[in-house]
Amino acid sequence: MNGSVFKRVGRVLRGQRGATNAAEGMHTAVPNEVDTTHGPILYVENVTVSFDGFKALNNLTLYIDDGELRCIIGPNGAGKTTMMDVITGKTRPDTGQVFFGQTMDLTRMTEYQIAAAGIGRKFQKPTVFPEHSVFTNLELAMRADKRVWTSLTARLSGEQRYRIDEVLMTNGLNDLRQLYAGQLSHGQKQWLEIGMLLVQSPRVLLVDEPVAGMTHQEMDQTGELLTRLAGAHSVVVVEHDMEFVRSIARKVTVLHEGSVLAEGSMDEVQNDARVIEVYLGGAPC
């Protein structure tokens, strides 16, 4: 079982290269070269976000290295989703800076610009296009020139089709490709959304609670997928499922009340007195 997943992932990654090249050849909105010469690809510095006086993020500082797989945990309301909102441009920070590489100031970019620059996002609540087929969902997510007039005449290239097929094999939705996405189960929607993330070929993947609603087996597969993606991509995973986090984590950040409480390996974090206090022993130690 594991072996087959490995193979699939391998193909996905190779396919991705191909797609990227093809996209470049097609004169598309290629992400500006992300300057990661200093190590980190994402810089979140002193970010504060408040909603009517309530600080959802409080002077949060966080760096994600290029190619890193980072897990972010924290109790409900810690600000994890808000942090992703800030990175993807959905929420503007009151103060602080968010940079993609050395040069791109994300606080000055719109959502679609950020996405085009190479930051992909999976929502906490799976969101797909319910009235499109699984295939079309992937087609729309596919990295391409996404301007209006171009899409009036755009057609999928053979290469892109192949790429979608590959992803469909990876996420196990191949048999359901013609089904309306709205008819998928919760877990299947999660997979579809992950697939949509893959065809976008982003540099950074922000994944909010990817395994909610998945079986144990599927969780394993997801973990596998995410670890393989790391390296070529930077992956930021928010999860409540500690077991899952432990199985994939290299570096864990604990958020609490909008700022970083602790950072380190899973073991270090779990032994941190403050973290234990916050979780009240809730984590499976």
Binding site: K90, G120, F123, H132, T136, L140, L152, A154
Partner: protein
């Protein structure tokens, strides 16, 4: 790509569209023959009045098609689409006014009657150019497009959606109605533009011109349908549906969703403008009443009755409801508004997908329609 092929591919998967175009072809041939060739004494003779009535229905159908694009496909329930229709109508109306020349009541070769009546001495600047048909035809599309662009640019950029958007579109057409009622606007105030004489040199009273206008409506509707079909089958069309269902998702995979909405809104406004331009010469008048919010919302019910998000459903709905309206207002005038009111309630409660949805439900399987990526 070969024209013929494109045409075939657009309709390959579209039974409703095929039926629509076939019926359009039939009436395009049949009505003129029944009107011009069959003698008036025959039972089969179709009066010019009926031909014009059909022409009117067809222009309404084009308007419904336009609304279906934004409502059915993009989820924007515009309660102001009559404004675009009316603007197109006014544009062609201005041309027709200029064609009257010195045959007006006051016989002024330069000024339309209502301006003479208001003691105006010269033509306002925005009336210049409308003596040329090509210019008016351009304005038929440009004026609605410009309004839609300005309005949409503001509205979509600031992410006004749902009922809020509906209400401000209604306010828009309401404001325009009030504005056009003013004499100072220079569009004939209350009475609007009327007493047209001829179009492109042909008398509007003659049978042949009427048939010509009718055929133009048939052609416009057929082309409009194909264009709309092309748009909804393109990737743009799929993005638009995606925006309708999950705008955030679309944004986060890199689509500038407001541009898509704006594009489809402007395109729809242009279609509505053309519909208005076909309507006005056939009914012979355009006045500010066309801007009334009631018109816009009545139009919504045509689309709802037919079945939104299907294009041909909107067309069928427009023709059906308007036929019913003609019938009722003639036979039982008091009943019409009761019927219309009931229609609104019944359709939303029991026929959310319209007549088309009702017919389709039986056949609908679980799978999405075949992907059209490669057929285009």
């Amino acid at each position: 790509m070969n024209e013929q092929n494109l045409f075939k591919r657009l309709l390959a998967d579209d039974r409703g569209g095929q039926a629509l175009l076939a019926s359009l072809a039939v009436i395009a041939v049949a009505l003129p023959i029944l009107n011009l060739v069959v003698p008036a004494s025959s039972a089969l003779h179709v009066s010019t009045y009926t031909v014009a009535l059909f022409g009117k229905y067809l222009s309404y159908a084009l308007l419904a098609l336009a609304l279906d694009l934004v409502w059915g496909y993009c989820g924007i329930l515009s309660l102001g689409h009559a404004a675009f229709f009316a603007l197109g109508g006014y544009a062609i109306g201005m041309y027709l006014m200029r064609q009257i020349g010195d045959r007006g009541v006051y016989g002024n070769p330069n000024l339309p009657d209502f301006m003479v009546f208001l003691n105006w001495k010269e033509l306002p600047w925005y009336w210049h150019g409308f003596e040329h048909f090509w210019f008016a035809a351009l304005m038929v599309m440009l004026a609605p497009a410009l309004l839609a662009y300005l309005f949409g640019w503001f509205a979509f950029r600031s992410r006004v959606t749902g009922v809020y958007l509906s209400i401000i579109t209604q306010a828009l057409t309401y404001a325009l109605m009030l504005a056009f009622f003013r004499n100072e606007m220079g569009f004939g105030g209350n009475n609007g533009l009327t007493d047209f004489k001829d179009i492109l040199g042909y008398s509007l009273q003659s049978n042949a011109t009427r048939i010509g206008l009718f055929l133009a409506s048939v052609l416009a509707l057929a082309l409009g349908y194909l264009a709309a079909r092309y748009v909804v089958c393109s990737k743009l069309g799929r993005v638009v549906v995606a925006v309708r269902d999950a705008e955030d998702r679309a944004r986060f995979i890199g689509y500038k969703t407001e541009s898509y909405k704006l594009w489809i809104f402007v395109f729809s406004a242009v279609l509505a403008g053309i519909a208005g331009a076909l309507y006005v010469p056939q009914v012979g008048i355009i006045n500010p009443g066309e801007f009334s919010p009631l018109n816009s919302i009545e139009l919504v019910i045509w689309v709802a009755v037919g079945g939104r998000g299907t294009l041909y459903g909107a067309i069928a709905g427009a023709i059906l409801v308007n036929y019913a309206k003609t019938y009722f207002t003639g036979a039982l005038p008091d009943v019409w508004l009761f019927a219309l009111g009931a229609l609104f309630v019944l359709v939303t409660l029991f026929l959310p997908r319209g007549i088309v949805g009702l017919l389709r439900r039986r056949r609908m399987g679980k799978t999405a329609p075949t992907n059209l990526v490669n057929s285009l």
